[in-house]
Amino acid sequence: MSEAIARPWNSILPVAGALSVIVAWQFLLPLAGVPSYIVPTPTEIAGIFAKESALLWRNFWPTLQEALLGFALGNGVAVLLAIIFVWNRYVQAAYFPVILFLNTIPILALAPIIILIFGLGQMPKIVIAAVICFFPTLVNMIRGLESVSSSEKELFRVLSASKWETLWRLRLPRSLPFLFSSLRIATATAVIGAVVGEWIGSDKGLGAMIIQATFNYQSGRLYAAITLCSMLAIAFFLVVVAVERVVMRYER
């Protein structure tokens, strides 16, 4: 391992790195003869943002909603189920293997079934986003709830703490670092889930826009939609990191 990067450089270098890639993209790709209907330059994409902002926003909101609700649903169910599993080992022994099996089905194979069940509105997109968030959080949350040391368990037993008190005052706070590391990753997967859902059957949302723009060779619009997807995921990620900072302030 090399040594850590000193103070001003650790924030300057990533920005400089990103800028250098954008500059190279802007000037080197056209020089290399890559046509703009395959890869438009950054200024062309920025132009689309200016010209077609109404269209972009109209498609941004549904994706944002689906990703947010899918994130809440998938992670919420995962946390609840993890608590039930840790509360009762028999339930865990019976049903965890079933979930393990369901998790091996690729989301692309599952998506049409979800759309069959939930129709063509926003609901199937929310469910698809929820499904891909669900499993990593379930596994992490179970591990987090079980990450109590034997002396912590003994402390609570000497204090005659009830099972509920041990859950609320020991296991849940202990699980938070595990939960947040899973939630951070789930921000990106929730957006992916919403977009994949929109690919398969939708006329609005960034996913639908990506498909339509691709078929119509509107590469500027395609790249603008992709940029919005990643900005959505990044913003979402930063929100989760901010919440984590507040909740986990005790860790200095």
Binding site: S149, S151, E154, L155, V158, L159, S160, A161, L170, E251
Partner: protein, 259 residues
């Protein structure tokens, strides 16, 4: 201090389930109320196991174990027993004061009238200004002080300490030993103190219980009161303490302690 026994074990067998056999066998021990008993023995001989049995964390396989004349379960339910672990076991998401009051938040237990407050106990442990800190902001010695304060807040009649200063540097350990002695003098709480330090065992104990391994049993009980003053104190360099330590060392060698 009456003639009551704080702990009375008779032909006690303790283990982790009947299948894996007894760790402690035919264990006999009387601990009078108000005694500070230190416990040494080879590692794995069952020192922690004995404390767990007293604290009702482990059911005896056979024999009888009385705590304050009652079952360990009854004593634990009345909060007559507190436990201090080697790792301080402070909850990192609670401040120091919140850690000390944890016993009030669980087990349906409220503060007894006239009992010391968390702030009183912080002052007693010599760290009155640290109440608002989080455990990650404390040194190892400060954490153990907080752990002791938490153990004291329910005013236990028996304090079980399992190598509480084992992870501390020697200077901090010496200081905490002296403060524990002062605390014991002021409260006359019965203390069972497990250690792997011969020095600590001899310096702190009214008596020293030496355990032998495989199976865990009483090897010897050495009385230290003869060499100490009325307050239970002796200088660390005192020749009588040095020779008592030599005796304990040969006890340990005789019962097969390695290292």
């Amino acid at each position: 201090m009456g003639a009551t026994l704080a702990i009375e074990a008779k032909a006690l067998d303790v283990g982790y389930g009947p299948a894996s056999g007894a760790v402690l066998q035919k264990f006999d021990l009387d601990v009078p109320s108000g005694e500070l008993l230190t416990v040494i023995g080879p590692s794995g001989c069952g020192k922690s196991t004995f404390l767990r049995a007293v604290a009702d964390l482990l059911q005896p396989l056979s024999g009888s174990l009385k705590v304050l004349g009652d079952s360990p379960h009854a004593a634990r339910s009345r909060r007559d027993i507190s436990f201090v672990f080697q790792d301080s076991t402070l909850l990192p998401w609670r401040t120091v004061l919140e850690n000390i009051t944890l016993p009030h938040d669980v087990g349906g237990f409220r503060q007894k009238p006239g009992a010391p407050t968390a702030q009183d106990l912080l002052a007693l442990m010599g760290i009155p200004a640290l109440g608002g800190r989080y455990p990650s902001q404390l040194s190892g010695g400060q954490r153990q002080r907080v752990a002791i304060a938490r153990a004291l807040i329910s005013q236990p009649r028996i304090l079980l300490m399992d190598e509480p200063f084992g992870a501390l540097d020697e200077i901090t350990r010496d200081r905490l030993n002296d403060e524990l002695l002062r605390l014991w003098r002021e409260t006359r709480t019965t203390i069972l103190f497990v250690t792997h330090s011969i020095m600590e065992a001899a310096y702190l104990g009214n008596r020293v219980l030496v355990l032998a391994a495989n199976p865990g049993r009483v090897h010897a009980i050495r009385d230290m009161r003869g060499i100490k003053d009325g307050r239970g104190e002796i200088a660390r360099e005192h020749p009588a303490l040095v020779s008592a330590m030599a005796e304990l060392r040969s006890d340990l060698a005789a019962c097969g302690a390695k290292g």
